[in-house]
Subunit: 297 residues, 2 copies
């Protein structure tokens, strides 16, 4: 799994930071979290072809999180896109999407499935992972997301060799958690396999501190969290329903995450590293996102 | 007068070229011609504050020419904008604009005046300049624009000195084209003033070759013209209703302009200088636009 930060500014872009967008790559899945203006060009700069995107998760419909959507769809439409693009978002997403299509001349040459998430919980699940959403507290309906890889049974290669079990269907069955008989002996799956826990990443973009933040991030490997302001501008954070770097760290702390990555910085901060320093007073393992930064999970 | 190219790509941006947008600065006027996705950030990169913009002229409502509009308006809205922003565009502009406002949560804290241009001709005029539009031939309603500075009577400083006329109201009257009496002699305006012709710039963005192109550009100091394709892709140019570099040069030639600047290049051209070379076979004074290029007129 890899995260690629495509934009780390809040409402207004700066020379160094574009609007919000994060790409999560997991196998053949390329999931875009938010799509601020200019995202398709940021993807190009990062060497990622726009038609690789499989799902788009919209946190909310403030411009700085979605204004890149029509352009991205147009570029995908001009490619030979044969997948069904899935777009998920909060209440109102379908209506917003219809207006976008009316606002510009736009040829939709591929299938788009738009789904509004009405309730907290898992809204997508397959063999390998699930995605969960929780309603956060912002000035408009806004969702936080969590991507969770499922646990997988892996082969203990040395143990399998020691027992002389060859690669093939027997090992396959053991990996599925079933016992097999090998050279007259019953082999239990625990003898040659182990369960590898799945990784998880939570995304909290635009909210005030609330219990849903902590719930969504609980024990995550990575929490990507907005930190629009520094501590001394807490009154602004409250007014505009945003988090300070301190609040982001407090969420990370309470949720017991392994790593916090802060993003969505107010353009007033030339160097948002000072926000990461602030956060580290409350949660040591804090990283400051930068445009085009990649993180292996 | 100055032109600043903010984006020189056509439908899809490249690493080097953003979507269409050109800023024309004339005194306190900052007129934006088209506003492709990412224009507000391009302005920032060029050191121009978005709230300086006074007018926006939309050629047509294809995404690559307008998708930067909502973000730009949002950024202007967050400033202390006390002017009335004027937006001009072809038939349908008001409807598109209303849908944009519905598509995103958007606070309009300043006054915007949207006007659809229904007929060819001058649609804006003041003491210093006028702006004219002509309907071109594209797949959707699309306007070409021409900005024309008015002729101005200037003082022949040496002649005024020779006659001993002091700086002040007398010279002012002569500059207005009126005769005055100085030391008992009648002084005619022609004796101490001359008429300086105004400069003009025509903008032809997205069209096939048509007579309106030539009419709009007639004798202009600068013609900014799309040249999406090279000559060998003329069939594509016809299919998508665009110009080749050769056609742009032919328009410049027939319209007798002083300088041609080509822009709006297909992303297939890594170095669009080859398109300028092609154009120079038909019109010598051809320049190839680049993002952030400035031209003094």
């Amino acid at each position: 799994m890899e995260l690629l930060f495509l934009g780390t500014s809040s409402m207004v872009p700066t020379k160094e930071r574009n609007h919000s967008a994060i790409l999560l790559t997991y196998g053949a899945e390329n999931i875009l979290l938010d799509c601020g203006e200019g995202t398709q060009r940021q993807l190009k700069m990062a060497g990622v072809a726009s038609p690789k995107i499989t799902k788009i998760l919209i946190s909310h419909w403030h411009g700085d999180h979605v204004l890149g959507l029509p352009g991205l769809l147009q570029t995908i439409s001009a490619s030979e896109y044969s997948k069904i693009l899935e777009i998920y978002g909060p209440r109102g997403t379908k209506k917003h999407f219809e207006y976008i299509k009316k606002a510009f001349f736009f040829e939709e040459k591929f299938e788009v499935k738009v789904r509004e998430i009405e309730e907290d919980g898992i809204f997508f699940e397959n063999e390998d992972f699930c995605i969960e959403a929780k309603l956060l507290e912002h000035t408009v309906p806004c969702l936080g997301y969590r991507f969770s890889e499922k646990a997988k049974r892996k082969i203990k290669v040395d143990a399998a060799k020691k027992l002389g079990i060859p690669q093939g269907p027997l090992l396959g069955k053991l990996q599925e958690g079933k016992s097999v008989t090998w050279k007259g002996k019953k082999i239990m799956p625990e003898q040659v396999t182990y369960e590898k826990e799945g990784k998880s990443v939570a995304f909290i973009l635009d909210t005030v501190m609330c219990e849903s933040c902590v719930g969504l991030a609980k024990d995550a490997d990575i929490l990507v969290c907005e930190a629009t302001y520094s501590e001394e501008l807490e009154h602004k954070a409250e007014e505009y329903k945003h988090l300070t770097a301190k609040s982001a760290a407090m969420i990370a702390n309470r949720a017991n995450v392994k790593q916090l990555v802060i993003t969505h910085f107010s353009p007033r901060y030339k160097n948002p590293e000072k926000l990461a320093e602030e956060a580290r007073n409350y949660f040591d393992k804090t990283l400051c996102a930068k445009d085009f930064m990649r993180i292996r999970v």
